[in-house]
């Protein structure tokens, strides 16, 4: 395996598929895996493979399309293939299931590819928080805004309470829209994206509270603090982006005085403040692609995207904002190329394994929250 392909960084010494994968898939050589994947695909004509930007090369090489979560959902919606193999994390596959037709089937190579940030806002907690919150302020004054990086059930909650979804590129539009609906925004599940967005809109640190669901009362706030806040930000964050610190930006500037630092808005405020540019994955890609030859770019996002950018822009110097170990998404890693062969071969043999199916009611509501997003 070449080093530029994949960041093979695992804390785990042992493979831990533990029965999720039949033994015959153990210890395949790279060539064998490649051959089997391609052979299965040759026999399958009704399948589309979607790969997230954060996936490793040995997975994305088989993808029909690459993109960020929203691009991929859109592609899934447009695809007419009966089977959609989604190489990303659970919430994305759920979104794909929501936007595809009823006879299309969305399958994930591994059921363990679940985004830890999405897991930080479970409905049982959010429902509880909403009940508590609306005892202090009238429910009609609060509009939920939910980042698409969340489970379908949370999107459904959002629609039920008149809110909208947003992405990292349209969060400020969503906040504006929500503030037209009422006085307050209840934002889940990413506190850093919320924090960065409210600053973008000219609000400051006096205008928000953090709602920590693991606190006993009002997310760790007093009733007055909640009443005074315009934004209520859920205590959740991305494991990868949270690891970047202002010191990483300072270090990279020391080492490369002419560097451009571009980071994702899921990073901490201090990182966004000290970076040169902030933008969603597609913005980062665009910016680097259009940059002058010879320019230097330190990228503050998941390492596989950074590596792909470096590969695709050999005329520029592109590298990660901190070491590889610190910016590798463990959830995305769960999509092992062995799992991909497995689901494809099963599919070829007529077995649909690891299907993601969102409950019908939830689907309807979640779709509404996504539609609202497209209209704001």
């Amino acid at each position: 395996m070449s080093v530029t392909d994949d960041a093979e960084l695992s804390l785990w010494k042992y493979s831990d598929s533990l029965g999720a994968l039949p033994d015959e898939y153990d210890g395949m050589s790279d060539e064998e895996r490649l051959k089997r994947t391609e052979a299965a695909l040759d026999e399958l004509d009704d399948v589309v493979i979607l790969g997230h930007n954060y996936q490793r090369h040995s997975v994305t090489r088989h993808a029909d399309h690459l993109g960020d979560s929203l691009q991929l959902s859109r592609l899934a919606g447009e695809a007419d293939a009966r089977n959609v193999v989604f190489c990303g994390v659970t919430f994305m596959a759920e979104t794909a299931d929501i936007v595809t037709d009823d006879d299309q089937r969305v399958v994930m190579p591994s059921m363990e590819a679940s985004c830890p940030m999405a897991g930080m806002a479970e409905n049982i907690q959010v429902d509880g928080a909403w009940n508590e919150l609306t005892e202090v302020v009238p429910g009609e004054d609060v509009t939920p805004v939910t980042y698409v990086n969340s489970y379908a059930s949370l999107k459904a909650f959002t629609a039920e309470h008149g809110g909208t979804c947003c992405t990292s590129s349209n969060a400020s539009d969503a906040f504006d829209w929500a503030l037209d609906q009422g006085e307050k925004v209840f934002f889940t599940p990413d506190k850093y994206l919320g924090h960065n967005t409210l600053h973008e809109l000219g609000y400051g640190d006096d205008d928000f509270v953090i709602w920590d669901p693991w606190e006993d009362e009002l997310g760790g706030n007093t009733p007055d603090e909640v009443r005074d806040a315009t934004f209520i930000l859920w205590e959740g964050f991305c494991q990868v982006h949270e690891r970047f610190g202002a010191s990483d930006v300072a270090d990279v500037r020391d080492a490369h005085p002419d560097v451009n630092v571009i980071v994702h808005p899921e990073c901490r405020r201090e990182v966004v403040e000290t970076a040169d540019y902030t933008g969603s994955t597609s913005t980062i890609i665009e910016k680097v692609e259009n940059a002058p030859e010879g320019s230097k770019w330190a990228i503050g996002t998941e390492i596989h995207l950074t590596k792909r950018l470096a590969r695709q822009n050999p005329d520029k110097d592109v590298f990660g904002l901190c070491g590889e170990e610190c910016s590798d998404c463990n959830a995305m890693r769960q999509i092992d190329p062995d799992f991909l062969v497995y689901v494809l071969e099963e599919m070829r043999d007529g077995n649909i394994v690891n299907r993601i199916q969102v409950d019908e009611d939830e689907k309807r509501l979640a779709e509404k929250a996504l539609d609202t997003m497209l209209s704001v």
Binding site: Y14, L18, G19, M111, E112, S114, E122, W214, Q239, E325
Partner: protein, 493 residues
């Protein structure tokens, strides 16, 4: 740190292993989370230790164990338990360790429990485990074994086989203990269910660590539930109370056992457990102790129960009960010397699956099992443990921020899923749902545990994995056997 034999856990299985290996001249290190004798399942055992009664034909005892196990136990293993184990009780527990079991005029005071065809159980009041655990720790302290208390094994290390463990202290500092042999003696899985008779911290670490190292794990669907634990505070209200006349009633005070079984409150454990479980589905089952108050000197005969009940409960005699996770029959598959299917790895005690229990455990045989296989593993490891190889393993912990209470919230979720779907009564649909939920949860938790050396997160990671192993096994086994109860017809695919 380097050692010849690394023992993880200090219950009866870990102590027996360590004491025996040290006595055979091995350099032994015990790593244990426990900081007090009350931190182990061993310390909490009530009834006693079964051993072949004087003049008893071993076959009778063997048949009792096999029959309790639903006929699927391993006969060789049971034979070893009965013959060799019984000797070990006398020669090791009594003579070498000095446990003082209750005696009467003719020698040891022997009692009988459900499923035993004769009086053969040694005990110390109703707190046998306390005496056993304390004596073992005393003896361990006198041996040459090094004991690291309050330390947690968070990962096994090694390439082809196991060469020790990564160990964390309470401050989150971690170091590798390189070992020629590694013995997992980490006890039960109570925290996977939440409602349990086990002390806190029973997260099935050994089962999870072994599985992660590629060792075979089996029979995990056989989880024994005690029918009458306190519904809120978890402690056990022993069968003996029902033996003395305590009744099971619903919210309206109406008895629900007579309709279900001719022996009513004294029906077999799994029948009572299912009845209590189902009553609690839409209400609350109570144990009515008033008949026992009338017929006994309660405080003297049931001191443990007496101490655990509130004044109000002692007044009214009504105690809310629920089935509780009690014992894992399966676990890490081991041979007659406690060796797992991965090189240089051993498992003993509740963590191991020796084949003794089959699909259900006969009362008072688990201490005996931990003792028997502990001594064997200690002997074998001492003889075979070579100088450990140097393990090259850098610590790449970031110890990033983690919201307080996060682990608790995820444990709640795990426990709800397990209790609802993989508890005393299981359905195909429920198990499938649980599997999907747990896979998702496992994915999330792995991400959090990665790069953080917080033992609590590792405990969560292990518990989720053990939950998944229980669910997978329960799905695969469509028969109701022993303590594994499947209801409903499998859904058409």
């Amino acid at each position: 740190m380097r050692t010849e034999v690394l023992v993880v856990g200090s219950g009866i299985a870990g102590c027996s292993t360590a004491i025996r290996a040290a006595n055979r001249g091995a350099d032994v290190t015990v790593v244990t989370e426990a900081t007090s004798p009350d931190d182990t399942n061993t310390g909490w055992a009530q009834g006693g230790v079964a051993r072949r009664a004087p003049d008893e034909d071993a076959e009778v005892f063997i048949d009792d164990v096999l029959e309790a196990g639903g006929g699927v136990g391993d006969e060789d293993a049971v034979e070893r338990l009965v013959r060799e184990g019984s000797r070990a009780v006398d020669e090791f527990l009594v003579e070498e360790v000095g446990v003082g079991f209750d005696t009467n005029g003719d020698g040891f005071d022997l009692v009988r429990e459900g499923g035993h065809s004769t009086d053969r159980i040694l005990h110390d009041g109703d707190a046998t485990g306390r005496a056993v655990q304390r004596a073992l720790l005393r003896r361990l302290g006198e041996s040459d074994a090094r004991v690291l208390e309050g330390h947690t094994a968070v990962e096994l290390v090694g390439d082809r086989g196991v060469d020790g463990a990564l160990v964390a202290d309470t401050d989150g500092e971690a170091f590798v203990v390189e070992a020629g042999a590694t013995v997992l003696a980490t006890g039960g899985v109570g925290d996977v269910y939440g409602r349990t008779t086990n002390p806190e911290g029973a997260t099935g670490d050994g089962v999870a660590l072994a599985a992660l190292a590629g060792a075979e794990v089996s029979d995990t669907e056989y989880v024994q539930f005690h029918p009458t634990a306190h519904a809120e505070r978890g402690f056990l209200l022993s069968e003996a109370l029902r033996g003395e006349g305590a009744l099971l009633v619903n919210e309206d005070g109406k008895r629900f056992m007579p309709d279900r079984h001719e022996d009513a409150e004294l029906a077999p454990r799994d029948v009572v457990a299912t009845a209590v479980h189902e009553t609690n589905r839409d209400g609350q089952a109570y144990l009515d102790l008033s008949p026992v108050f009338d017929s006994t000197e309660f405080a003297e005969e049931f001191p443990t129960a007496y101490d655990n009940l509130t004044d109000e409960e002692l007044e009214s005699g009504r105690v809310p009960v629920a089935p509780s996770e009690h014992f894992l029959c399966g676990g890490v598959v081991v041979d007659e010397n406690g060796r797992a299917s991965v090189e240089r790895l051993y498992a003993v005690g509740e963590t191991a699956c020796t084949g003794v229990h089959g699909a259900n455990r006969l009362a008072s045989t688990s201490l005996l099992e931990g003792l028997t296989w502990g001594l064997r593993a200690g002997e074998h490891a001492a003889e075979n443990a070579h100088e450990p190889p140097a393990v090259d393993r850098e610590s790449d912990a970031f110890n990033g921020e983690m919201p307080d209470g996060f682990v608790d919230a995820k444990f709640d979720r795990l426990q709800n899923v397990m209790w609802e779907n993989a508890g005393p009564v299981r359905t195909e649909d429920g198990l499938r749902e649980a599997r999907a939920e747990l896979q998702r949860l496992r994915g999330e938790v792995k991400s959090y545990a990665r790069g953080r050396l917080d033992p609590e997160l590792y405990a969560l990671r292990n518990a989720v994995l053990v939950g998944l192993l229980i669910v997978e096994a329960a799905l695969e086994n469509e028969e109701t056997v022993g303590c594994h109860r499947r209801v409903g017809t499998p859904a058409e695919d």
